[in-house]
């Protein structure tokens, strides 16, 4: 499962839990009880929820910080300049091979653009911003041959939706593209 699917699944599960709680509250609202014991139970749930969020949530968020996209490759990558302009992408090269570690040096000549790398199924793999006057270095290693796309992910004006570039990735083992 890719990151998007895990995200969607976790979101759905947590929201469903919230929905179940709300349906329960809705259904029992008319059965009047004294507030003090209800409040006492609520405070107990609150304490449990608070500590669960601390004990489970914080380690998860710290763990998820281990794999940040900001680091550049330890081994010498192939550096490819990628420049966005209104409204096209200009890359040093548009053909790659699998196994190659590529470092896209992303910038812009005019306004902010978004360098969004998509695979042949239309799934977003990685992205970084293209900001004028700055270079954002995005490291990526292609593992599957095929046709990829760069699509603009930062609103940049009239042709934002048509700033698309095809990249081809060949099999690095010397086999065919299929």
């Amino acid at each position: 499962m890719n990151v998007q699917s895990v995200t969607a699944l976790v979101t759905t599960l947590v929201v469903l839990v919230i929905v179940v709680v709300f349906i329960n509250i809705r259904r029992h609202a008319h059965e009047a009880r004294e507030y003090a014991p209800v409040q006492g139970t609520a405070y107990r749930y609150r304490a449990i929820l608070f500590w669960v969020m601390i004990v489970v949530g914080l380690p998860i968020t710290v763990y998820l910080l281990r794999d940040l996209p900001y680091a550049t490759a330890a081994t010498a990558p192939e550096v490819v300049n990628a420049t966005g302009s209104q409204w096209n992408w200009d890359l040093d090269k548009e053909e790659f091979t699998t196994g190659q570690i590529v470092e896209f040096n992303v910038t812009s000549t005019d306004v902010n653009h978004g360098f969004g790398l998509y695979d042949q199924n239309g799934t977003l793999l990685a992205q970084t911003q293209a900001m004028p006057g700055y270079i954002n270095r995005l490291t990526y290693q292609f593992t599957t041959p095929g046709t990829y796309k760069v699509m603009c992910l930062e609103y940049c004006g009239l042709v934002h939706h048509d700033m698309i570039l095809d990249l081809t990735v060949a099999d690095g083992n010397g086999g065919s593209n299929e």
Binding site: V3, Q4, S5, T7, A8, T11, V14, I18, V19, V21, F22, I25, H28, A29, H30, E31, A32, R33, Y35, V38, Q39, T41, A42, Y45, R46, M53, G57, L58, T61, L64, D67, L68, P69, Y70, Q86, D110, V111, N112, G114, G116, G122, L124, L125, A126, Q127, T128, Q129, M131, G133, I135, N136, R137, L153, E154, Y155, G157, L158, H160, H161, D162
Partner: protein, 488 residues
């Protein structure tokens, strides 16, 4: 209330209360009408993306710009109305500021509409430098200058509101820290403990003042650059200022509107919402968090310092605590087995708590850097903010509208089917955005690829349903305005 009040002072307060009510009702009426128009613009966008309506991309992006800035504007206007209405019973507010703000707001709105629909300005509500000035020859410089000037006027108006509310809180409680209840929180003092409405208002003043100043600064800087293009701005600085401004402003709208929950649920259920130390701690935490987590909008700007990005993620997780653990759970506890009969007002407030709590979930998850890498600037982003604005903020505002239309009588009457329908249409509409994010659909694209359009088509149908129900709520309010204004 000071018992030593004289007849003249009481009369003065009645007049103030009456004129305050006039402006609150006016604000809510304008909020309702502009909201419906902005919703129609949103529907047009989804129809265009669905391939069901042919709109020229230049018009699409103008509509997108107006929809964004219009919704933020009325979220603020409606939020101020809700906050003012309830806060006025605890502190002495000068209604004249509401009048001044409204003038600035309306002039600013007219300026932006002219700039966008006549001038063609379409840099989105985020006006990300240098896009307003560098449009690829699509819009003239004057349209950018007019739009930004209009936005500046609107911002100045809200800053005046913040200053007036801050003044009133300081006059009543002796300081903003005391208005946040710090004397109770840290020293357990029971002297003039602020009610939830005042605590929320204090938070809004503390966060919105620097946010509006930052917004004004980057707007003025952009205007200088527009008039004198050789004077350039560092684009990373501009982006930081814009997202600090934008993040705080839009979050503060919910913090204003939630006052309705704190004020009405106790009245409806007969159970008190006390200002406990936990409540105060949650609000102080929110005040701090909302000021420092804006870097979660810049996680894909790799040139930002890594520590800022890491803090953006971790603090975003922590920021969910006050909402989920304190306000959400507190509202549910007040309602649980309270013996109430559900009606339109109570159900709308109930839905608003759900919208806010559930809406936080996709937001916090997206603030995780590794997730943000593949979901930033996809439809997941409008998915999460429509979740807690459409299903959190708006039901709070609608609830207050209906409550005022009923002359503030909380006796339950009638059914709540319209609220349930609003929730169902709204929830599926929001889910279509989230599904688009799962499918990697980019946001802010006028033209969608065919394989993405199924989400857009369902969303369009749902949006139409939302607009019908929202119209019913707004008309219910507008029809009762004469009665509302006669009330003391």
């Amino acid at each position: 209330m000071n018992s030593a009040i004289t007849d003249t002072e009481a009369q003065g307060q009645d007049i103030t209360a009456q004129s305050g009510r006039f402006w609150v009702v006016t604000y809510l009426a304008i909020t309702g009408l502009v909201l419906l128009l902005m919703m129609v613009f949103g529907l047009l966008m989804r129809l265009a993306q669905a391939g069901w309506l042919a709109i020229d991309p230049s018009l699409f992006y103008e509509i997108m710009t107006v929809h964004g800035v219009g919704m933020v504007g009325i979220a603020s206007l409606g939020g101020v109305a809700v906050m003012w209405h309830f806060l006025a019973r605890y502190v002495s507010l000068r209604a004249g500021v509401l009048a001044i703000n409204l003038v600035l707001f309306l002039v600013g709105v007219v300026a932006m509409l002219a700039a966008d629909f006549i001038g063609g300005f379409a840099a989105a509500w985020t006006f990300l430098y240098p896009l307003p000035a560098v449009s690829g020859s699509v819009w003239p410089a004057w349209s950018a200058e007019l739009h930004l000037f209009g936005l500046l006027l609107v911002g100045v108006g809200f800053l005046l509101i913040c200053l007036e509310v801050g003044r009133a809180l300081i006059a009543e409680y002796g300081g903003l820290g005391r208005a946040l209840g710090w004397h109770k929180l840290f020293f357990n003092s029971d002297d003039n403990v602020p009610p939830p409405a005042a605590v929320a208002a204090a938070m809004v003043v503390i966060v919105d003042t620097p946010a509006l100043i930052a917004g004004a600064a980057v707007i003025v800087m952009s205007l200088v650059n527009l008039f004198a293009p050789t004077i350039a701005i560092n684009p990373l600085l501009a982006k930081n200022l814009i997202y600090f401004f934008g993040h705080v402003i839009i979050n503060a709208t919910i913090y204003m509107a939630v006052i309705a929950v704190y004020e009405l649920l106790p009245r409806i259920t007969g159970r008190k919402w006390k200002t406990t130390r936990v409540f105060l701690a949650a609000w102080t935490l929110s005040t701090t968090m909302v000021l420092v987590i804006y870097p979660h909008h810049l996680l894909m700007d790799f040139v930002m310092p890594t520590w800022a990005m890491m803090l953006g993620q971790v603090l975003s997780y922590i920021n969910s605590f006050p909402v989920l653990v304190v306000t959400g759970l507190g509202a549910l506890a007040i309602l649980h087995r309270s013996g109430i009969r559900w009606d339109l007002v109570s159900t709308l407030l109930f839905i608003s708590i759900f919208g806010w709590m559930a809406g936080v979930v996709p937001a916090v998850i997206d603030a995780t850097v590794v997730v943000n890498s593949v979901m930033h600037n996809t439809l997941w982003v409008p998915g999460h903010f429509h979740f807690y604005l459409l299903l959190g903020l708006l039901p709070m505002i609608f609830a207050v509208m209906i409550h005022l239309a009923r002359n503030e009588d909380v006796t339950p009457r009638g059914g709540d089917l319209t609220a349930i329908l609003y929730l169902l249409f709204g929830l599926i509409f929001v889910i279509m955005f989230l599904a688009g994010g799962w499918a990697s659909v980019p946001r802010r694209w006028a033209v969608h690829l065919e394989q993405w359009q199924i989400w857009d088509k369902v969303a369009s149908v749902m949006a139409a349903g939302v607009i019908v129900i929202a119209t019913i709520f707004v008309v219910m309010f507008l029809a009762r305005i004469p009665g509302m204004l006669r009330q003391k």
